[in-house]
Point group: C2
Chain length 503, copies 2
């Protein structure tokens, strides 16, 4: 899931950052003079307006794998709920990393996703979860692997991240970023995260899947009897149920860019306020492969493999957030999340993802021995605009979000903080798919304009309801297809300049 929260995207580009810094300094100064009182009133008015104008964007997925048609409605519903939860948190002033964790809790709590409640059971019939979270601003990271008895593993990962941000522990010890198993459980409980009996985390769906898988395994192992050579044994097993480990692998993840997107130059007329910095965050949670060995850790707990978030910096023009799903071993050995993030720094996002999925995953030399490479990825990137002419008022931002999968299906939800409800896309294909969308976020009816290396790009936000506009390209097919980048074909080419909004 990708969320990006852009408080001020509604024609107020660049104002939020200043507003926040003024507020912070006001709190420190505790103004008493009439001048500061006046200033304080103005600032309070800003605060009220701020609450109305808080923005952002969130993208979630409910896993790449096989989604039962009969449960499609539930998958869509939970994706929408997760988006809503993140947007609610954004509106309450949460940062990217907090909102992303909140949305993931929603997905973990659903009995239909393979994360938290209703996770796949392992060989011993137990639930062991992986989760990780990354903050694009501090580049801190927290992860838990094979943790049992915790309903929301992402909260433990998030707590590890925030504890690490506080600095060293007593006696100069370095705080951990990755905890596993029993130790992770104990750490979580000692940090106030309530334990949950393992049996309460299993659902009727996960239990029946476990029984079904166990029968399949027993059947496969019976058929193996008589075959002495490992090679033969394994080949025969594959004939019985190759899909066992694929069908139930629906992990869950999300990412966001928070409302601190803008840093403002307050000198009117010259180098007007423009987006310079964005906080992205990404998180992922998974119950892992069905019938996995106890103690197995998948990509969801692995740095660079399950999720990645990196703010724009001098070297990187784009803020990127990535989250993956699928067969953990494939995603680990290709470090897919980080590879996609690196790829997203090139000009054409769609082409870059296409090439990354093909060269760094499907045809990766690291997976040369695999007969089928299974995974999916969601990607969000926010353009860090290049120099804008002094006469222009930049009042919006372009967000590109993409997803791609080599698994049978993938369920994706997305929402901007100005939308009244989330949208869901259920891509169901047995072949490779890549989807790409560019959205403009801004005041309803306003022209949202941004500057890329290629020059100005403009899009018109819808006149009524919400602020999302864009071109949606859903490219499914038997083969990878190249397509023109959405961003290079703006749906509006007007160069209207809109009014500045007072805050």
């Amino acid at each position: 899931m990708l969320i990006f929260s852009t408080d001020a995207l509604i024609g107020l580009s660049g104002y939020a950052g200043v507003m926040e810094s003024l507020m912070n300094s006001a709190e420190e100064q505790q103004p008493t003079s009439p001048i500061t009182n006046l200033w304080s009133k103005k600032q309070e008015a800003s605060k009220n307006q701020k609450q109305k104008l808080v923005g952002g964007f969130v993208l979630v997925h409910a896993g790449a794998g096989y989604h039962s048609e009969s449960k499609a409605k539930e998958y869509k519903y939970v994706c929408k709920r997760a988006c809503q939860r993140a947007v609610d948190r954004l509106k309450a002033g949460a940062l990217a990393v907090e909102a992303v964790a909140a949305a993931l809790v929603e997905l973990e709590d659903s009995p239909f996703t393979n994360a938290g409640m209703g996770s796949n059971l392992n060989l011993s019939g137990e639930i062991e979860c992986d989760a990780s979270i990354m903050d694009g601003k501090s580049l801190h990271y927290g992860a838990v692997g094979a943790i049992g008895g915790i309903k929301n593993p992402v909260l433990v990962a998030n707590r590890l991240l925030s504890e690490a941000q506080k600095g060293k522990l007593s006696a100069g010890r370095i705080p951990p970023c990755f905890l596993v198993g029993r130790g992770a459980h104990e750490w979580a409980v000692s940090h106030g995260i309530p334990p949950c009996p393992s049996e309460k985390m299993a659902t009727k769906f996960s239990l029946s899947a476990y029984k079904r898988n166990k029968r399949k395994m027993e059947l496969a192992e019976k058929m193996d009897t008589g075959h002495n050579q490992t090679k033969k044994r394994r080949q025969s097993s594959e004939n019985v149920s190759t899909v066992l480990s694929v069908k139930c692998n629906i992990s869950t993840c999300l990412m966001m860019v928070d409302r601190k997107w803008f840093r403002v130059s307050r000198h009117r007329g010259s180098r007007c306020s423009r987006p310079r910095e964005g906080n992205v965050a990404a998180a992922v949670s998974s119950g892992g492969l069905a019938m996995k060995h106890p103690g197995r850790v998948g990509q969801a707990a692995h740095y660079g493999c399950g999720c990645w978030a990196e703010n724009a910096c001098n070297m990187n023009p784009y803020s990127t957030a990535v989250s993956t799903s699928g067969c953990g071993e494939h995603l680990i050995r290709t470090m897919l999340a980080r590879e996609c993030s690196v790829a997203m720094q090139s000009e054409d996002a769609h082409q870059a993802l296409l090439e990354a999925m093909q060269n760094k995953f499907i045809s990766s030399p690291f997976l040369a021995s695999e007969d089928r490479v299974l995974g999916g990825v969601i990607v969000l990137r926010c353009c860090r605009c290049v120099e804008a002419p002094p006469s222009q008022n930049i009042q919006g931002i372009l967000v590109e979000f993409l997803w791609s999968h080599s698994t049978e299906s993938m369920c994706v939800g997305y929402m901007s903080a100005q939308d009244s409800k989330a949208k869901v896309s259920f891509s169901n294909t047995s072949t490779r798919a890549i989807s790409c969308m560019t959205v403009a976020l801004g005041q309803p009816g306003a022209i949202v304009q941004t500057y890329t290396k290629r020059g100005p790009v403009e899009m018109k936000a819808p006149a009524t309801g919400g602020v999302m506009s864009g071109q949606f390209r859903d490219l499914l097919g038997l083969m990878w297809r190249t397509a023109e980048r959405s961003q290079s074909q703006p749906c509006q080419t007007q160069s209207k300049t809109v009014t500045n909004f007072e805050v």
Copy 2:
């Protein structure tokens, strides 16, 4: 530790591969005719000579951290023993990945290294180890994290690697590459690796260090009482013992290139035999930071962070193997092993490592909030030679191995299969250090020549004893210093062509 095993480096470049393939086909054919008998005799002679000529190179380290002066002798001794063990295995025909595991077992068994026996104790007074291994040929990887009650964690990692290479499990399940905690222990025991009671793994050194560290922690926490603010609390703690987590962090790792280095073109006179392919392997094992939280997993179990091995391929002209040591959290968040491997593909190895350590580690944006960045790395790379003129006989290979650390000290050992004993270097500095060495492996007294992109490079192997020759640059100093690459300054510039050796 870096080992590269080059059966045939002794002026027999390119012959071993053929010899091996002939031997294999001979076994399959079971020759009966007089002609094949004759051929068989010749082949047996080759076999005998092969045993004498088996070659390779190994590089190990006993950790980057703080090595007590009083134990310097023991560290050196165990490094030498590990090198010897790997070379013995190479001479017995082992592949890179097998020999690297054997050497690591030696290091784990030493009570002086922080791996296996004598590992650091965690907060609860228990030993939990991390280990991983990577095969540069198959690019397979196996790892265990926070595993208790196993004397040689690297053997579990190696077994995971070899099991994964066999393909899918019953019912199409994907074999795990990373197991942690209790599950990892159970998997190990069920795969024939004997358990070892935790109390037997603790030594008098590790127990006394634990008691000392515990006292320091208690003292630090007492001092914290009264400070309410986290920031203040942590600052005061640092004053007590910032080095607690550094002093005991001595992890252990090794890498090698095995004897299948050469692929031979048998057409004499034209494109003579030359090294084309090399199998490198890398492994690492660690007891982790002293007083770590139970369940904490460090870089030694983390893909891309603890070790990396990648054979030369179309995209990469060099085979590289890397292993890291130091503060796990720093090494994870910078993915140092993989970053160094990527850097090693540039022409100048010394400059590349210098830049990688500076830009990707010391000054990494991922560690911007850290006051001190602690780590060390050993790197081996083998040149994949570019086109050689038809008139030349290439009879050796150049190996570059380098190490660098930001910790107080690092102990490194290295040995070629033709050396009678290993060499050890103990770099002890409180500042940054980088060391670089280029060695030529070949028949004693022979000119070893290889072709790089820059043109021919020649070095003379010593006339007596062993086959290692080279230039050693140990650049220690207060600041990073750049230096000319050793390889561009061959110690011998003769262009003598030596006799072909019959095998």
